[in-house]
Symmetry: C2
Subunit: 190 residues, 2 copies
DNA sequence: TAAAAAAAAGGACAAATGTCCTCAAGTGCT
DNA sequence: AGCACTTGAGGACATTTGTCCTTTTTTTTA
């Protein structure tokens, strides 16, 4: 829980007592490699903080191809955020690509925190803002960097993902085909 | 103001009295075509609701080329959101591409609303969530649609933008060069 | 209104990426 | 260990997109 408290402190000032009072609304959860945290068309039941492990977030495009939109790693939140917030069926799927340890909270639990502790209103807004900043950055990268630059960025920022994920998934994450990714890797190794 | 109230009601339930009490924190603002709402490296001073007109949001990439990231149209919020929320210098610029009428609120004004009216906590979170949803959708489109599909989507969803913005800006918005956009337009006209 | 300037269209070729494929290496299963 | 199965690398060619231009159209200004 210490990791989680540290994360919360980094986005809003929460006192020790507030954290203790809030913590009964959270519960631990483990997933095995390959398990789904969220399936397609399921309402995302939890917002989760990743204590350890990596989750692949993906969706099916109109040709029913899996498109990876994010690799979520430890010390970050994960969820099908829109589905969770609006309590509507998810178009995103979240699947563990390693064994995972999470701390999760349900939608109802979070609403209770909003009502009981004013600080959670601020945390809730800060989380939404953080998710926005992350997505804004992702969009700027998508729109502005070549596939090679994106690969090098992934190598720098999430090197473990290159070990854990398969080529196909990395390729769709970068927005290119397997063939192009293969060329990029060849180029870099020279 | 009626338009703005309608917008707020669509994202959180605000009573008539709450709206009246809040409204003194907002002020009207007009911009002429070509005026900047936010310049580069300026801390975005306001969050704005667009009553009428269109704003182009753009940034400079590492080759100092202007990349358009959004066209903001009436009945939507606009701001350099990250800059406004964190009160840090903006890398985004917002420029009017028509004459504009806005309703704006300052950062301090919004903090006061958060403190005075609990409903504003909810609105603030809902706004952050909305901005996130918009950006998530934009990223999915960027990563998944061809330039032609993106053009057709723009034609469908914001046809007025194709009249107002110049080709160069539309091209960078779609993530292609002028030449490619020219080819797309030729193809469609056949 | 005519000249100048700016914006958009489009030609020709180069570069990047995709498609479809085969081959090699690694993985799991019996 | 041996065989099927999966995964990644990379060849050959087609398609798409970019680069660098020139030409055409539109807009601005004297």
């Amino acid at each position: 829980m210490e990791k989680f408290k540290k994360y919360l402190s980094s986005i809003a000032s929460i006192s020790d007592q507030e954290f203790i009072d809030s913590s009964s609304y959270f519960s631990p959860k483990k997933l095995k490699k390959g398990d789904f945290f969220v399936r397609e068309n399921q309402v995302c039941p939890h917002l989760a903080f990743i204590l350890s492990g990596t989750i692949r977030m993906f969706y099916l495009n109109d040709k029913s191809e899996e498109i990876t939109s994010c690799f979520c790693t430890e010390n970050n939140l994960t969820s099908s955020y829109k589905s969770f917030v609006l309590q509507e069926p998810s178009h995103l799927m979240l699947q563990a690509i390693t064994d995972i340890e999470l701390i999760v909270i349900s939608y109802d639990g979070l609403q209770k925190l909003y009502n009981l502790f004013p600080v959670w209103q601020t945390i809730g807004r800060a989380v939404a803002e953080q998710e926005y900043f992350r997505m804004e950055r992702y969009a700027a990268i998508l729109n502005n960097e070549s596939a090679k630059e994106k690969y090098l960025r992934l190598l720098k920022e999430q090197p473990e993902v290159l070990q854990l994920a398969n080529i196909e998934d990395i390729a769709t994450y970068l927005g290119v085909t397997r063939r192009t990714l293969s060329r990029i890797r060849q180029e870099i190794s020279n």
